[in-house]
């Protein structure tokens, strides 16, 4: 179940990376960042949050113990 949700969010993020709706948008956000750049900068932050969530809820504890010889 947990793995399924992670894969789903990962695929959703990969799709959101395409942001076709921004393709022709040349506006500036905050007066200096082009929309296409602002969107992908936010995307980088969302990616970090996503991986923080994965690390917290899907950390491979069993693998780690096995590597340290604690199995």
């Amino acid at each position: 179940m947990k793995t399924g949700i992670i894969i789903f969010v990962f695929v959703a993020l990969a799709v959101l990376h395409q942001d076709t709706w921004n393709w022709d948008n040349g506006n500036l956000v905050f007066g200096f960042i082009p929309v296409g750049l602002a969107y992908h900068a936010c995307y980088s932050m969302v990616a970090a949050i996503f991986w923080g969530w994965v690390v917290k809820f899907a950390w491979p504890d069993r693998m780690e113990k096995w590597a340290e010889g604690d199995d």
Binding site: W23, N25, G31, P34, H40, S44, A48, V54, P60, A67
Partner: protein, 554 residues
């Protein structure tokens, strides 16, 4: 904007040597740090190759990030944004934030665990044991070396592209040359110094010295990127004024053409990112899953928990470096097109107005040189760019020494054949040989290609091979024959496309007649072919032994 033009006009009259002094001081500082880390070296081969598995979370993040970011991060991002526009960040940076972290989490942690448990120090040891085949090492070794060498070359050639404009006009009597780089420090000296410094600290302390140096250099290049951004925006009248003059075609991803007029005539420069290229470029960041030098960095981790910070912070670190650099590249599109390029002083015209794409690698260096009034700061920013370059070179040199020693020289030899000291000596000897080869090749090839297209070919090869490591880790049914088929399919398809591209130029498959970049990235096809070959051949060939399955799938 106006002040920039005046500054550029005045450039030819007097050139300060302060930037060069700053760079020399930086290299001296780096050597001092190397000597210090050399004192921490424990003298064993395990310490030389994987720092005795002692690197904590912060140093692991810095060394992994510094290694993946090479010359591409500062120089390439600015140049590509200048060349193609705003889509550069989405094309190369934000996708890397997602995919790199996925590789660290799914491949890095598992590989570290298996290598820690069974005592592997190289990728090839891992694959030989996983696929129960000694021969696979002999097949992989030349593939990895041949793919790392272009990657090494972009670092060294990148340093020429940065240092040439940065030192232009400093020594007109000592180093006279025709064109805009008259009086600059020649490539043979730059290469000698850069390779010499990297070699010195790799020699002193192996992977431990590389981790220390990478941490220092990564902090330097991140800080200098932000500093350059601040100073350049200030020189252009603030971020809003700087962004207002960006060439409109560079604010969007829509493919188009930009007409550039120089004294040699008018030419069209392709701008924008075609959608298919944008989509299939997402395969490129998979390369971190197979970089042998990154594999070695993973193995230096103290424990699996050390990966946590790297997985989470990597996308943020990419953002901190790439957003300012992409903006600088976009600002340069306005700066160098108004007034018309042929009205600019000769050095700028020569570098920015070339009909081929060789000039784009020099964008950051030229902008820093002409826009930042303080030569001290200009020197610091240039040192930051060199830091980004060297933080990758060291790991690549070291990993080639490591795989040669462990996978070729020591393979199948009795354990007592060489002493620990002899093993370290062999590794050091091979590193020296690789440095000499890289140095020589970089001088021969320094003017041949747009250096960053060569990097994409190197990344493509590694990315396509990631199907091998992924199936090895997650599919018990992956067989020895499947692994051979995967490597051969990737190598053959990569070589075919590389040749079609004219040995290293920009190339996409099924592109239109009008552009070279609106087709499918070759890496996507190579990756799928490798994966299909692995799956199909594995289904019909002998499965690995129960002992191997138990060893790799606990």
């Amino acid at each position: 904007m106006e002040s920039f033009f005046i500054l550029a006009q005045a450039e030819a009259t007097k050139v300060s040597k302060t930037p060069l002094m700053v760079i020399i001081c930086y290299l001296g500082l780096l050597l001092g740090l190397a000597l210090f880390s050399g004192k921490l070296f424990r003298g064993t081969s395990k310490d030389y190759f994987v720092a005795s598995h002692s690197i904590g979370p912060f140093m692991l993040l810095m060394s992994v990030f510094g290694t993946t970011m090479t010359a591409f991060a500062l120089v390439g991002s600015t140049g590509k944004a200048f060349q193609k526009g705003v889509g550069t960040y989405g094309l190369m940076a934000s996708s890397s934030g997602l995919i790199h972290a996925a590789c660290f989490f799914l491949i890095g942690i598992k590989v570290w665990s298996i290598a820690k448990r069974h005592g592997y120090v190289t990728q090839i040891q891992f694959f030989r044991n996983r696929f129960e085949s000694s021969g696979i090492g002999y097949l992989l070794f030349p593939c990895l070396v041949l793919l790392v060498i272009p990657y090494l070359l972009i670092g060294v050639i990148g340093s020429y592209r940065v240092m040439g404009p940065a030192t232009a006009g400093m020594f007109p009597e000592l180093f006279p040359a025709a064109g805009p780089l008259n009086g600059s420090v020649p490539p043979w000296i730059i290469g000698l110094v850069i390779c010499g410094v990297v070699l010195a600290y790799i020699f002193a302390g192996g992977s431990r010295a590389a981790a220390w140096a990478n941490t220092f250099q990564t902090l330097v290049f991140m800080a200098m990127g932000v500093l350059a951004f601040y100073l350049i925006s200030k020189a252009l009248g603030g971020v809003a004024a700087a962004s207002e003059q960006i060439y409109p075609g560079h604010l969007v991803r829509t493919p188009g053409e930009l007409e550039v007029t120089t004294k040699d005539g008018t030419f069209q420069r392709e701008i924008g990112i075609p959608p298919i290229q944008f989509l299939t470029y997402m395969f490129i960041p998979l390369s971190v899953g197979m970089f042998p030098h990154l594999f070695q960095h993973w193995l230096t981790a103290k424990n699996a928990k050390s990966f946590r910070l790297t997985v989470i912070a990597h996308p943020i670190c990419i953002m901190v470096v790439w957003v300012p650099c992409v903006l600088i590249g976009l600002w340069a599109t306005g700066v160098f097109n108004q007034p018309p390029i042929d009205a600019w002083p000769k050095p700028v015209v020569g570098i920015m107005g070339s009909a081929d794409d060789a000039g784009v690698g020099k964008v950051l260096s030229v902008v820093v040189k002409f826009l930042i009034e303080n030569p001290l700061i200009a020197g610091m920013v240039t040192a930051g760019i060199l830091a980004a370059i060297m933080s990758s070179l060291d790991s690549q040199f070291l990993c080639l020494g490591t795989i040669f020693t462990n996978d070729i020289v020591l393979h199948n030899k009795p354990k007592d054949r060489f002493t620990d000291k002899q093993i370290v000596l062999i590794a050091r000897g091979f590193v020296v040989a690789i440095v000499l080869l890289t140095y020589t090749l970089s001088l021969v090839l320094k003017d041949v290609q747009n250096v960053f297209d060569l990097a994409v070919w190197s990344f493509s090869g590694f990315a396509a091979l990631t199907s091998l490591v992924f199936t090895a880790l997650y599919w018990k049914g992956a067989t020895k024959a499947g692994a051979y088929a995967c490597i051969i399919a990737v190598a053959a398809s990569w070589f075919y496309f590389f040749a079609k591209a004219g040995w290293g130029g920009e190339y996409t498959v099924f592109s239109s007649e009008h552009r070279s970049d609106d087709g499918i990235m070759p890496v996507a096809i190579c990756f799928v072919l490798g994966l299909v070959a692995m799956v199909v051949v594995s289904l019909f060939t002998k499965k690995p032994s129960d002992e191997t399955i138990e060893k790799f799938f606990p």
